[in-house]
């Protein structure tokens, strides 16, 4: 089943809901090792995203995600704004002109997004950031993309979850949590968590849930 423009819109709506219902949780995580705003930032970003795309006509997935990228960059701020903004921008460039894509292509586009995050933020796996979720998740997706779709997505989300929880014992080396040094260990990274939530929504939309 190809990933369609409609699925893209559904995925974003699901992300908006997921972020909204985890707003306090993400902020709580950010209280422990950051500045208590990640849930607020993400919620502002997705609320603005939904305002922008609802009612708007998008010819293709590229155009849809480019709008998301612009809103993220222009309304979220903080570290996550430019990072997610860049992510969606890179994804949109890969999907320019496409009103639907097969899973391998989607996986490639997402990988481009991750590359953008790494280029901008210079984080590696183990630095206790969203990269810890994205790297295992997207390498799993790439590896499984040719096989059974449901199984590919399930494994991807499982890898994302593992990546997310893998941040708990880590000492942060990037972002605000790094100022805490050893005291950042024992807390799950907020950005790694929001990334997991977003990938989970993408899975649901891609599998035709509405």
């Amino acid at each position: 089943m190809p990933f369609t423009l409609e699925m893209g819109r559904i995925a974003l709506a699901k992300m908006d809901q997921a972020v909204e219902s985890h707003r306090e949780y993400l902020t709580e995580l950010d209280s422990a090792i950051g500045d208590a705003d990640h849930g607020i930032n993400m919620s502002r970003g997705f609320r603005k995203t939904m305002e922008k795309i609802q009612g708007a006509e998008h010819p293709d997935l590229g155009a849809l995600f480019r709008d998301v990228a612009m809103v993220m960059m222009g309304s979220v701020g903080g570290a996550s704004g430019p990072l997610y903004g860049t992510f969606f921008m890179k994804v949109s460039q890969k999907l320019a002109g496409k009103d639907q894509v097969e899973l391998p292509q989607l996986a490639e586009a997402l990988q481009e997004g991750l590359n953008g995050i790494v280029a901008l933020g210079k984080a590696q796996v183990g630095d206790k950031t969203m990269v810890d979720t994205l790297v295992p998740a997207l390498s799993t997706l790439a590896a499984e993309a040719e096989g059974d779709e449901r199984s590919a997505w399930d494994k991807t989300v499982a890898a994302a979850e593992q990546g997310m929880t893998s941040t708990i014992p880590l000492v942060a080396r990037k972002g605000r949590a790094s100022y805490l040094g050893e005291r950042s260990a024992g807390h799950q990274d907020p950005g790694a968590t929001s990334t997991y939530l977003l990938l989970n929504c993408l899975r649901a939309a891609a599998l035709g849930e509405s």
């Binding site: 208590a36 607020i40 701020g77 903080g78 704004g81 933020g121 605000r176 790094s178 005291r183």
Partner: protein, 332 residues
């Protein structure tokens, strides 16, 4: 958490509107993005621009005016502003001599300002950036985000603003900015947490007999949680780390800056300053200039930070140069 606000989402804009209403002679708001612009901009000089999350007032908006900033870009509370803000503010105030961004070293600020700088450069406007990272509480390392920008930012904005006002070219303004940053060190502490309006509750909890040492300006927890001590002991433990870091040496002249985090009475800040001067005198370090008050705050947090800037005759002259902004004013 109780606050004098209306809607959580409107805190920043309503506060900016109030500041503009109070200081319309000095500042005006950008018509389309959140930006505090010098009322008489553009001027034929290097435009000095800073910005960052809100909640640190008077930083940065309160420092817009003659002899200091040309524009400030406030983000949401404790959240860095977005690139379009810096881009539009820069375009509105630049006078053909280029733009200097003074950026506090936080991942979000650095990335957003970098994007804005790229956009600005793409439009053919010369732009330079200096990242301020004066917080000795953070152990520096190549592999981390590095030290935070804290109290030193205030002093740097004043000094660099004076230099720009005097007509120095972008390259020199940037260079003095870097020199200041290389000579300034800070450390903060908190007795209580602050509460981000949108979060609705304190960022962290501290016991009745505890304080946080090495706190940031965003309610980030510090490096250590310690049992409460006297002001003198706290001042000494902070000043010791600061002095040893640069290091500041016997015979050095410094600007000593005792900053309140927003909720500490001025009475206590002067008491802290008293202990700081005693400590520095004991080390043979001479306090040639000072600043005591709430200048870079964390909402209603109780606590203080100490900043020392090593002075030379150039920096003293630039510090003394007239300044006329909502929060800092002399000589005019």
């Amino acid at each position: 958490m109780k606050k004098l606000i209306n809607k959580v989402d409107d805190v920043v804009v309503e506060s900016l509107a109030g500041m503009q209403a109070a200081h319309g002679d000095l500042v005006r708001l950008h018509p389309s993005v959140k930006g505090v612009l010098r009322a008489d901009a553009p001027n034929p000089k290097v435009a000095v621009i800073s910005g960052g999350g809100s909640g640190h007032e008077p930083l940065h908006g309160g420092f817009v005016g003659f002899g200091m900033l040309d524009a400030a870009c406030p983000g949401e509370v404790f959240t860095s502003p977005t690139p379009d803000q810096m881009l539009e503010a820069a375009k509105a105030v630049q006078g053909g001599k280029g733009v200097l961004f003074i950026v506090k070293n936080y991942t979000g600020d650095v990335m957003n300002f970098q994007m804005a700088a790229d956009m600005l450069a793409a439009e053919g406007i010369p732009v330079a950036q200096v990242v301020v990272n004066d917080d000795v509480a953070v152990q520096d390392s190549l592999y981390t985000a590095g030290r935070r920008g804290v109290g030193g930012t205030v002093l740097i904005e004043k000094i660099v603003g004076a230099l720009a006002e005097l007509g120095a070219p972008l390259e020199e303004v940037k260079q003095v900015c870097e020199k200041c940053n290389a000579q300034v060190r800070s450390m903060g502490m908190a007795l209580t947490s602050c509460a981000v309006p949108a979060a609705g509750k304190p960022t962290f909890e501290l016991g009745e007999d505890e304080f946080e040492l090495g706190i940031g300006i965003h309610g980030e927890p510090g490096r250590q949680r310690l049992k409460m001590k006297t002001a003198r002991e706290i001042v000494e433990s902070m000043a010791e780390v600061i002095v040893n870091d640069l290091p500041f040496q016997k015979g050095d002249e410094v600007l000593a800056f005792v900053n309140g985090m927003g909720g500490t009475p001025l009475m206590e800040l002067y008491l802290v300053y008293n202990d700081l001067v005693r400590f520095l005198n004991g080390k043979g370090i001479q306090v040639a200039r000072n600043l005591v008050g709430n200048y870079i705050t964390s909402l209603e947090m109780q606590g203080c930070s100490i900043t020392l800037l090593k002075l030379d005759s150039q920096l003293k002259a630039l510090w003394d140069y007239p300044v006329h902004t909502p929060a800092l004013r002399w000589g005019k």
